[in-house]
């Protein structure tokens, strides 16, 4: 099947995949700003891996592979892992990277132990449980898109409503604490929203690639602006663009009758390309602009030196 832009309006599957990916990009891109600025960029990777034991536990409890139940289970264990990481930061001298590394590798390990224990029990329904972790954008339905829209609006609405509080507890936690704001609670809240974004993305782009959907749009946006609200908006836009464009590209370039390009991977490469272009080309912070500034300064210096002492 070869698809053109016009099919967007007529093809149900195409519309669901492109819209769903764009919505996911919008939510992940916006929320990713907080983790990137907090030097916890890889919290998305952590949460995505830490969801595994929860997914297994939910399966053991309900006995079915009902998507919503598994997502809730995964979300709970992802949230537990991220709270454990925050606790490690609070109660020890260990740094962000260690806190994330310890939680994700041990949670994922426990998840694999559970997964294999379930496998040994001979329960036929468990087949494909781990397929959950690799993402399958082609499976997106209009119902998923609606769910993304509702949960995404909830998450972005929270960010908009608590914008000031989140900003000050991010950049100056001591001041926020002195002002009597619950800094730990606000941090946990923005982390919980990130968990939500990861759980939305898990089905679409998979565990590993979810990390990029949080990071790349935020890195791209950071190069163009100095304000948090500008960065949040731009990152959301970049995320939506990479989601929509990535999905459209992966569908457009899929060979006739072939398995097709994996949407998640193409989306991530699109987001990475946007980030790299921003790093190079953005005015002010961009590397090329920096190079030009350096050259101008050198020329001015040489000119002044050639003029001799005045």
């Amino acid at each position: 099947m070869s698809l053109g832009p016009a099919d967007f309006f007529t093809d149900y599957t195409l519309r669901s995949i492109v819209l769903g990916s764009a919505l996911l990009g919008l939510v992940a891109g916006t929320l990713g700003c907080f983790s990137v600025l907090r030097r916890q960029s890889l919290i998305g990777d952590t949460v995505a891996h830490a969801a595994l034991p929860g997914i297994c536990a939910a399966f053991l409890l309900t006995g079915t592979r009902d998507t919503l139940g598994l997502l809730v289970g995964g979300g709970i264990s992802g949230l537990l892992a991220s709270l454990l990481a925050l606790a490690i930061l609070r109660y020890s001298r260990l740094k962000e990277d260690v806190a994330l590394g310890v939680t994700f590798s041990t949670f994922f390990g426990v998840g694999i132990a559970l997964l294999t224990a379930i496998g040994q029990s001979g329960n036929a329904a468990q087949a494909g449980l781990e397929g959950f972790l690799f993402g399958q954008a082609a499976a997106l339905t209009a119902g998923d898109v609606t769910r993304f829209a509702v949960l995404g609006a909830l998450a972005l609405g929270t960010v908009a409503a608590l914008h000031k509080e989140l900003q000050i507890s991010l950049f100056d936690p001591d001041y926020a604490a002195v002002q009597g704001w619950p800094v730990a609670g606000l941090t946990a809240l923005s982390t919980a929203l990130t968990v939500l974004a990861v759980m939305l993305g898990l089905q679409t782009v998979g565990v590993v690639l979810m990390a990029a959907m949080l990071i790349a749009p935020a890195v791209a946006a950071r190069q163009w602006t100095r304000s948090l609200s500008g960065m949040l908006r731009l990152a959301g836009g970049f995320g939506a663009l990479s989601g929509g464009l990535g999905a459209a590209l992966s569908l457009a370039f899929s060979p006739e009758g072939g398995a097709g390009l994996p949407t998640g991977a193409v989306t991530v490469l699109t987001a990475t390309a946007l980030a790299v272009l921003s790093l190079l080309l953005a005015p002010g912070r961009g590397l090329l602009a920096g190079l030009a500034r350096q050259r101008r300064a050198r020329a001015r210096l040489l000119r002044d030196l050639a003029g001799g002492p005045r």
Binding site: K95, V98, V208, A265
Partner: protein, 289 residues
């Protein structure tokens, strides 16, 4: 000569634990703890390239070389991006490794859509199969490969302990004294990339990442002395391997997963002990004693 299964599996686990812990302790101290995870995922395009070059076989020398090269590429690229000063280290890493992984996923789906290139085996590993693969002198192949890596790492860390310590805690002073912290750091990261690849062939990426970070983190909760921390971390890896193996046998679950779980439990216990001690010390200070 055939060795008992239990001995081969336990021996492999301990060798991996120690080979990972030696460079891992310095990664943890240098805020590069997530490098192992990044390398193990970013190795995918290298594995695919090696698979293609060798004409279709996983876990062969070309695949290992390819994986090591793409691991090194991850390290180099993210250092390059971080050094531009526009992006912090963690975000630079998070930009590079998913992109490489995505490239690998696309390469797999384009060329091997109908071949079962078993990604699960690469990521999860199956230490229980190590007894079936023999290498040099009839020893298990995993022992030869990972044991060799352990030897190299031990020589590196043992021989350059003072230099590593200095350049980790005070790179400025190290440079002033005429050492090159950047060269040393490059050598350390190269060893990490090689260790990750050598070990995940045997036990899977999960356990490698856990062994790189968790025992050292646990040890650093308990002591502030580097030498003691190293000894504690090696002990934690050994005991978690033995306990984890026992748990896995009892539950009929993945050995890799169970060992990682025990490592997590050890860490949580150490964290709780440290938090309790801190509270007692604060309490005493409040009483003026």
């Amino acid at each position: 000569m055939t060795l008992p299964f239990d001995l081969v599996i336990l021996g492999t686990a301990v060798l991996v634990a120690w080979a990972c812990t030696l460079p891992g302790l310095f990664l943890v101290l240098r805020r590069q703890a997530l490098l192992g995870d990044a390398i193990s995922h970013a190795a995918l395009p290298g594995i695919v390239a090696g698979y293609w070059l060798s004409g279709g076989s996983l876990a062969t020398l070309p695949a290992l070389v390819g994986a090591s090269l793409s691991g090194l590429l991850t390290v180099g690229l993210s250092a390059l991006i971080a050094r531009s000063g526009r992006v912090k280290e963690d975000a630079a890493l998070g930009l590079v490794f998913p992109a490489l992984f995505a490239a690998g996923v696309i390469a797999v789906s384009l060329n091997y859509g109908n071949v079962h290139l078993d990604l699960d085996a690469v990521l999860y590993g199956e230490i229980a199969y190590t007894p079936f693969r023999t290498g040099w002198l009839g020893l298990p192949a995993a022992w030869v490969l990972v044991g060799g890596m352990l030897l190299v790492n031990a020589l590196f860390v043992g021989g350059l302990f003072k230099e590593l310590k200095l350049s980790t805690f005070d790179p400025g002073l190290a440079r002033t004294l005429g050492f090159s912290p950047r060269l040393l750091s490059g050598a350390l990261l190269t060893l990490v990339a090689l260790t990750v690849v050598a070990a995940f062939d045997a036990v899977g990426a999960v356990l490698v990442v856990a062994f790189l970070v968790v025992p050292s983190a646990t040890a650093l909760l308990l002591t502030r002395r580097l030498g003691t921390a190293l000894a504690l971390a090696l002990g934690a890896g050994l005991s978690a391997s033995v306990l984890g193996y026992a748990v896995a046998l009892a539950l009929d679950a993945s050995i890799t997963g169970a060992v990682a779980g025990v490592l997590g439990l050890q860490f949580v216990l150490a964290l709780a002990a440290q938090a309790l001690r801190a509270r007692r010390v604060r309490g005493r200070a409040a009483l003026g004693r």
